[in-house]
Symmetry: C2
Subunit: 355 residues, 2 copies
C-alpha cells in the first residue's frame, strides 16, 4: 500500500489520470492546466454538479471504492440525460483523509473511468486535496444538446402522459438490505465480545452477508445506472418528451417538481407503478408498503417524463418504459389512485438530505 503523501497532489493527479485520452471532438484540453477547454460551436452546453459526502451519501463499510466511483459518475451523467442531452466531459474533485492509499484511489478511479467509458465521457480535470474527516467527492458533468432537443421540467401540459423507465424502489430496498446486514454483523460482534468468544470473533472477520436472490437490489443501490439507452430509444422512436427529470429523490418528489414548474396537476395509478419482484419480496419481508417505497425511495436514477397523448402507441410499444398516469389541470392537484380506486394526495416525502 502506498501513502498518498509520497506522491503529493500533482503526483497523485498525474498517476490517476495517466493514459486518459480524450475521445470527444469537443474536448480540446483536459487535465493539466488552470481550466479544461471545450469546443461547442453548434450545440448548447449543459452543466450539472453533485457533492457526495462520506456518511451522508455513502457508507464505506459496505460500498467498495470502485462501485462508489462508478455510481458517482453515473449519477451526474444521469442529469445530462435528464435534459435529453449527451454527456461529454467530467471533472472530479476529491478530498481525502489520511486513511486512504494510492491503491484506494486507483479503485475509485477505475470505477469512474468504467462509467465514463460506458458513455463515451472524457475526464478533463479535477482537484485533489485533503480532508480531516471522511471522503468528499465533487463531480461536474458537461454535456451537449441541440437547442430544440433540450427538455426542461416546466414543459408538461394537460393531457400529457406520465412515463417512467425501468422500475422503482429497488435502490432503496438495496440500501435497507445493506443496512440490515451491517447491523446484524455489528450485533454479532458485540455479542461475541460480551461473551469473550475469540473463536466467534475470528469467524466474524469472514462474515458473509446473505444476499442470495437479492442481487438486483444490491446492483441498483451500488451502481446507479444512468438511462442513456432510454434517451437513445426515445429519439429513435421520434418521441420528444415535454418535461423530464431523473428520479434521484423519489417519484413523488420529482413529480412535484414537474407539476409545480409546469403549473399542472397529475393523476398517477398505483397499479401501473413498475416494481421488480425482488423489491416486492424485500418490502414484504421488512413489513414495508411497497408502493410507498416505489413513490418515495430515492436513487433509482430512472427517467420520469411526460409525452403528448398522441405518442401513446409509441410509448406502449417501448420495452422498459411504463405509462403510470397523465397530466391534468393544476386545479385538480396531484393525485394517486390506489388499486381499490381511492384517491390520495401525492406528497413529496423524498429523501431530504438537510433533515
Amino acid at each position: 500500500m502506498t501513502e498518498i503523501a509520497k506522491l503529493g497532489e500533482f503526483g497523485l493527479i498525474r498517476h490517476l489520470t495517466e493514459g486518459i485520452k480524450p475521445k470527444n471532438a469537443s474536448t480540446l484540453r483536459g487535465v493539466g492546466d488552470d481550466c479544461a477547454v471545450m469546443h461547442y460551436p453548434d450545440k448548447e452546453v449543459l452543466v450539472t454538479t453533485d457533492l457526495l459526502m462520506e456518511g451522508v451519501h455513502f457508507d464505506l463499510t459496505y460500498t467498495d471504492l470502485r462501485h462508489l466511483g462508478y455510481k458517482a459518475a453515473q449519477v451526474n451523467i444521469s442529469d445530462v440525460f435528464a435534459m435529453n442531452g449527451t454527456p461529454r466531459q467530467l471533472t472530479v474533485s476529491l478530498a481525502l483523509s489520511k486513511r486512504f492509499t494510492v491503491e484506494d484511489m486507483d479503485e475509485l478511479y477505475a470505477g469512474l473511468r468504467a462509467a465514463c467509458d460506458r458513455w463515451g465521457v472524457d475526464i478533463v480535470g479535477g482537484d485533489t486535496t485533503s480532508s480531516f474527516t471522511g471522503l468528499a467527492i465533487s463531480i461536474t458533468c458537461i454535456g451537449e444538446a441541440d437547442a430544440a432537443d433540450i427538455v426542461y421540467r416546466d414543459g408538461a401540459r394537460d393531457t400529457d402522459l406520465v412515463c417512467v423507465s425501468g422500475d422503482l424502489g429497488a435502490a432503496y430496498m438495496g440500501l435497507q438490505l445493506l443496512e440490515r446486514e451491517k447491523s446484524v454483523y455489528y450485533q454479532q460482534v458485540d455479542e461475541a465480545k460480551k461473551r469473550g468468544d475469540k473463536r466467534a470473533l475470528e469467524q466474524l472477520a469472514h462474515f458473509q452477508p446473505d444476499f442470495a436472490g437479492r442481487e438486483y437490489l444490491l446492483q441498483r443501490q451500488l451502481e446507479g445506472m444512468a438511462r442513456g439507452d432510454i434517451i437513445a430509444r426515445l429519439r429513435e422512436a421520434g418521441v420528444r418528451p415535454t418535461a423530464m427529470m431523473d428520479i434521484s429523490d423519489g417519484l413523488s418528489s420529482e413529480l412535484t417538481h414537474i407539476c409545480t414548474q409546469s403549473h399542472v396537476g397529475c393523476r398517477i395509478y398505483e397499479k401501473n407503478l413498475p416494481i421488480d419482484y425482488q423489491t416486492a419480496v424485500m418490502a414484504e419481508e421488512l413489513n414495508m408498503n411497497v408502493t410507498t417505497c416505489a413513490l418515495n425511495g430515492g436513487e433509482d436514477y430512472e427517467l420520469l417524463f411526460t409525452v403528448p397523448i398522441g405518442d401513446h402507441e409509441k410509448i406502449e410499444a417501448m420495452d422498459d418504459v411504463k405509462l403510470i398516469g397523465h397530466i391534468t389541470k393544476e386545479s385538480l392537484g396531484r393525485v394517486l389512485v390506489s388499486r381499490d380506486g381511492n384517491e390520495f394526495d401525492l406528497k413529496a416525502q423524498g429523501w431530504n438530505p438537510l433533515k
Copy 2:
C-alpha cells in the same frame, strides 16, 4: 436564527438563489433544472473546479462566512483569467453540518454574490446537502475565450520574459498573523481557566486581536482577489502572454509547472520579486526569510506569465506588473539569482495539501 431543516434542501436553494437574474447572454437557464444550459457558439468553453474543506482550506474561527464565500468564488474565477478567458457562470455545491443556520448561508451567499457581481458572473446551479463533520464548498466556474486568445502553461519559449502581477507572500503572512492571534487568544483563555479567573474569561469574550498596520495582509488572506484587471490591461496593451497561471501554491511551484510543461528553464532575480512593505515587516517580526515567503507562500492569486522579449517596453510601462526574470533553455535549469549574485536551484516547496 433559522434551522436549515425547516426550509429543506429545495427551500434553502430557492431562498439562497432568489432574485438571481442571469446577466450574460450565454446563460440560457440557471438554477432549477437537472442542468444549467449555456450557449457558446463562437467561443471556446473553459471549465475549472475546486473543492474547499473546513479545517484544511479555511478556519471559521477567524474567517467569517461572507469573506469565505467571496474568496471561494474569486479563487475559481481566477483560474479562468489565468487562461486569458472571461468568467461567465458559476455553480456552488455546499455540504453543511447541523451547526449552520439559514442566516449563516445568507452570509456565505452574500460573499459569493458580491464576487460574482464584481466580475459579471451568473450563479447557475448548485447542490446543497448535509455533512456529518464540517463545511465543504465545491465551486465550478465556466468561462469563455476566443480560441486564439487562450494561454496555456506550455507556451513559454527561450528568451521570453517572466512577469508577475501585484506582490507576493502577503496572503501567507496574513495567515501567519491570524494563526498567531488565534494561539494568543487560546493561550490567554487556558491561563484564565487555570487561574479560575472569571473576570478575565469574560473580557476574553471581547478579545480584539492586534491587526493595526497589517490590514493589507489580512485582506490578501481573507479576500483572494482575482486579477481580471491585469487581463484587461494586457489586452489593451496588445500583449498576449505565451504561458500563464495564477499563483495559488506559491511562485516556485507555479514556475515549475510552466517550465516543465513548456520544456524550458528560467532565471529569476531575487531583487525583482515584488514584496509589499507590510509583508517584509511581518516576515522580519516572525523571523522568517521574506524571499522564501514570496517564493513559497500560497494563495496570492496573482498572475504569473511569460511574454515575448519584444514586449519588454510594454510591460515596463504597466503599473502593478513586475518583470522578475526570463526563460532559458531547459538544460540550464530553474535558477534563482540572489541579491549578492549567487545562484540557487528553484525548488517547488509550495503548499502540498496531501502532506
